[in-house]
Every structure is written in structure tokens, then in C-alpha cells.
């Protein structure tokens, strides 16, 4: 009885081309990925279906969590200028080295009086819990107000653009804490904010 002959081929294929593509993609993604800055105050933002990107420039981010508020302004030059203006206001002189080191710090939350010692710390020590107690925002010593105002001034001066203010609040944070911060901003006639959220799929 004649049997049908099945042609057998080897299962081993040449992987070189596939490997090339994979490594090319890998290199591309590693290079384009922006390393996430470690944040001294970790918050988990609520999610929403809004599709509006947080601006990269001309933006200040107020991080609210655990009843504390941290401040960050975008742009190295703007940061340096903001610190200069803050120094003038609070009669603290910062050396050029300190200003340069400060412009590399992202989010921070210390009273201006202890900012010098924060700048002197290295990156890992700054992230330790308890080092940064938050920016004072009480009516007696409203440094948050000063930071926002000076950051707006610095942004206007350097980029000639109006600064947006983003609020990055923790989902579990109680509303009165957020309200207190918003009230500080509204005193400066800032009535428009961006609330930073995670993106969420639109439900139909």
C-alpha cells in the first residue's frame, strides 16, 4: 500500500532577523522612556475620563496628600528664578551653587527657612519620610502663597506665558484640605486649575 509522503522540514528557524527587530524596538523604548522622578510625597490620583495632557512647561504642580502640600514648578530656569524671588522676599540669600542644585529638585515640601539644609542633602536623603514636613500654608505664615506668586512671576518673566496650576491630590484626601489650598490660590485670583488624574476608559 502506497503511503502519502509528508515532507518533513526542520523546526529550527533562523532567529537572527527576529532578534534584530526585538533589540531595535527595545533600544527605542528604553531611550524614549522618561525615567520617573522619585517623589517625596507619593499620592495615588483619582481617575477620570478627561483627555487633557498635563502641560510640560509653564506649569506648577501642587501635590496634596496626608494633609501636607508639596510644590513643584516646571522648567529649570523658572525654578532658579523662583528661588531668587523667594530669597528676596524672605531675606535669604542663596549661592549660585544652591540655586543650581535647587533647580534639579522636583517636588519639595519644606518651609523656606529650612530649604538650605534640604538643598544640602543628597537625593536619597531628601526622599526619606519625615524629612519634608510640607509647605506652610496657614494664614499666619503663608509660604505657599508666596511660592505660587513668585513662580507665576518667574514664568511670566522667562517664558512670557501664563503659568497653569495643577493640583495633584490623593484620592483619599479629605476635601477640606484641598479646599484650603484652593482658597489660597483663589486669593490670588487664580480660578482655573488642572486636576491631575489617571486616565480611565470611557464607559458607553
Amino acid at each position: 500500500m502506497p503511503r502519502i509522503k509528508v515532507k518533513r522540514t526542520s523546526t529550527v528557524t533562523d532567529m537572527t532577523a527576529m532578534c534584530d527587530v526585538a533589540s531595535l524596538l527595545l533600544t527605542f523604548f528604553i531611550l524614549t522612556a522618561t525615567a520617573r522622578q522619585p517623589e517625596p510625597l507619593a499620592v495615588s490620583t483619582p481617575s477620570s475620563t478627561y483627555e487633557f495632557k498635563v502641560p510640560v512647561e509653564n506649569n506648577a504642580i501642587l501635590t496634596i496628600g496626608q494633609g501636607k502640600v508639596f510644590f513643584e514648578v516646571a522648567g529649570v530656569k523658572v525654578r532658579a528664578k523662583t528661588l531668587e524671588l523667594m530669597g528676596e522676599q524672605y531675606k535669604i540669600s542663596f549661592t549660585p551653587v544652591e540655586i543650581q542644585r535647587f533647580s534639579a529638585i522636583g517636588s519639595f515640601g519644606v518651609p523656606i527657612q529650612s530649604l538650605k539644609s534640604l538643598i544640602a542633602l543628597n537625593g536619597a536623603d531628601r526622599m526619606k519620610p519625615g524629612v519634608q514636613p510640607g509647605i506652610p500654608s496657614d494664614s499666619t505664615d503663608n509660604q505657599l502663597n508666596a511660592w505660587v506668586l513668585n513662580a507665576r512671576r518667574a514664568t511670566k518673566e522667562i517664558n512670557n506665558q501664563d503659568m497653569r496650576i495643577s493640583i495633584k491630590g490623593d484620592a483619599k484626601e479629605e476635601y477640606p484640605v484641598v479646599k484650603k489650598i484652593i482658597d489660597v490660590l483663589q486669593k490670588q485670583s487664580v480660578n482655573k486649575f488642572l486636576l491631575v488624574t489617571n486616565s480611565e476608559a470611557k464607559k458607553k
Binding site: C19, Y175, I182, N191, L194
Partner: protein, 152 residues
């Protein structure tokens, strides 16, 4: 070479996923101006077209139409408010009174940031064009009602 390719694809997948997720989105909101010197900034709302939503404790909300105290508020869980908004908007549009349907959001001290964001998001999804945030003028009868129901 197969394990090497496997590993590479694993890494590629990892980088693809992490880069997409980490882009934060923002919600654009505006609050009413607080400048007392400009009374013309104060807006009068039509009672029959205004729905007030109070955000309370434990993800609960209370809502009522029109003037506070005239109609009893309804307590609902925050995720079910959608139907009430749609229903009230239909009724308001059918009433024939000129003007837009307005939703007044009042986050109280019991609510969390999450509740507030969810509510604003809901209004955006439902395309409620006129929405106001008011956290200063929480009326006494509103507070009293919410206390009675245990959501403040």
C-alpha cells in the same frame, strides 16, 4: 537564541506598557471668582433648572432641585447619580423655562477628593455644560439634613 528573543520581547512589552500608562491626564476646572468687590460676577440661577448635589461621607450624595429646604433632598450613592441627573435634565428641558440646566456641586467636609473628581467627571461624561462648584455656601438646612442622614 530563542530565550534571548523571549527576554527581549518581554522587555519590549514592559517598556510599551509603562510608557503608555504613566502619562497623567488633567481635568480642567474653574471655580467661581471670590472677589467680593465685583457683585456683577454673582449669577442668578433659575430654581426650576438648578440641581444641587451635595457630596457627603462614605461616597454618598444628596441632591435636590430648586431652592434648598423647599424640596426634600434625595440620598443616593455617588455612582448612581447619573440617572438622577439625566432625569432632572429632561424635566428641566421640558419645563419650557429659558436658560440652561445648571448643576451646582457642593463638596462638604465629609467628602474626599476622589468624590469630587468623580462627580466632575460624571458631569463631563453627561455633557452638562453649566456646572458650578460651590464649597463656601453650604446652607444650614443642607448641613442639618446631611447630619440627620449621617453623611456629614
Amino acid at each position: 537564541m530563542t530565550p534571548m528573543v523571549d527576554l527581549m520581547f518581554l522587555l519590549v512589552t514592559f517598556f510599551i506598557l509603562t510608557t503608555v500608562i504613566s502619562t497623567p491626564q488633567a481635568m480642567d476646572i474653574a471655580k467661581p471668582d471670590k472677589n467680593e468687590k465685583l457683585p456683577e460676577n454673582r449669577l442668578e440661577l433659575k430654581a426650576s433648572k438648578t440641581m444641587t448635589i451635595l457630596l457627603g461621607k462614605n461616597n454618598k450624595v444628596a441632591w435636590y432641585m430648586g431652592v434648598a429646604g423647599e424640596s426634600a433632598p434625595t440620598i443616593e450613592s455617588g455612582s448612581q447619580i447619573e440617572d438622577a441627573i439625566v432625569k432632572n435634565r429632561k424635566a428641566a428641558d421640558a419645563s419650557g423655562v429659558a436658560g440652561d440646566f445648571v448643576v451646582l456641586v457642593k463638596p462638604t467636609s465629609g467628602s474626599t477628593f476622589q468624590n469630587f473628581v468623580d462627580m466632575m467627571d460624571e458631569l463631563e461624561i453627561l455633557k452638562v455644560k453649566v456646572r458650578q462648584i460651590d464649597d463656601d455656601n453650604i446652607l444650614d438646612n443642607e448641613k442639618q439634613f446631611m447630619k440627620e442622614k449621617g453623611i456629614l
